[in-house]
């Protein structure tokens, strides 16, 4: 995983396989980076994710809930067709914006 900050947007570039093992090691890094950089918005980029299970859904929804009621935005980018099937199944597509790539997401947050 790599984290970058662009203005007030935190961009989390996820890599490889996103499962409970990976999520438990990165969620604190994401929360710390949000605070340290005073970031308002969060983009999870999935371009380099080869596999994800529902642990990734939990990671996304947890921050989505903490952003609700604020003007802060959370969105996703670069989602593969396999991961999209999972998002579709759990109804994530109905509540969170998904963009083709980070550049497109940045234009919309």
């Amino acid at each position: 995983m790599e984290i970058k900050v662009y203005n007030n947007v935190l961009i989390v570039y996820l890599k490889g396989e996103v499962d409970q093992h990976k999520v438990s090691s990165i969620r604190n890094d994401i929360d710390r980076s949000l605070v340290e950089n005073n970031a308002k918005h969060l983009i999870y980029d999935f371009t380099n994710v080869g596999f994800m299970d529902s642990s990734g859904i939990g990671m996304i929804l947890s921050r989505y809930k903490s952003f609700s009621g604020t003007s802060n935005k959370l969105c996703l980018s670069g989602v593969s067709s396999n991961t999209m099937r999972l998002f579709d199944m759990v109804g994530l597509k109905d509540i969170i914006k998904i963009y083709n790539n980070v550049d497109e997401a940045l234009l919309n947050v």
Binding site: D53, S55, L86, V90
Partner: protein, 144 residues
């Protein structure tokens, strides 16, 4: 029943072994040349079952997970068993969005994923004795 192929593995209930379980099941079915969607469905279901055994069955404590894979024609049977705490109310844990571990940011979608991505799901559990997940999926590689 005589199976065409069968594999048994036992591994520690550690989250770093989630990927090992996925690799084993993919290696097991690859000779039948299933589609990528089918492979991904099975990988995801196995990942959910193993994760449940680690964080719910054993609650992060030490224990063993037993994975049995069986093939008959193009039907895959997967059994994932733990000797952990078991499930008091199976219907409750199968409800979408139910989780007993919100502090771990669990989505509560694990059983829904398994039910959706596999053809058949059975949950056998005895409280304080352990849980067995039985899943079946046709690889659809023998169809004309």
């Amino acid at each position: 029943m005589n199976f065409d192929n069968e594999v048994n593995i036992v591994f520690d209930a550690k989250s770093e072994n989630e990927s090992l379980a996925r690799v084993v099941v993919v290696s097991f079915i690859t000779p039948l040349n299933p589609t990528l969607n089918v492979v991904n469905d099975i990988k995801t279901a196995v990942s959910e079952a193993v994760t449940n055994a680690i964080i719910h069955g054993y609650d992060g404590k030490s224990g063993k997970i037993y994975m049995n894979l069986r093939l008959k024609d193009d039907i895959l049977q997967i059994e994932i068993k733990d000797h952990g705490i078991g499930i008091e109310n199976i219907e409750q844990v199968k409800e979408p969005l139910y989780t007993s571990k919100p502090e771990l940011e669990r989505s509560g979608m694990g059983f829904t994923v398994m039910e959706t991505f596999m053809d058949k799901l059975e949950v056998l559990s005895t409280y304080k004795m352990g849980t067995t997940i039985l899943m079946t999926k046709s690889l659809n590689t023998h169809s004309v």
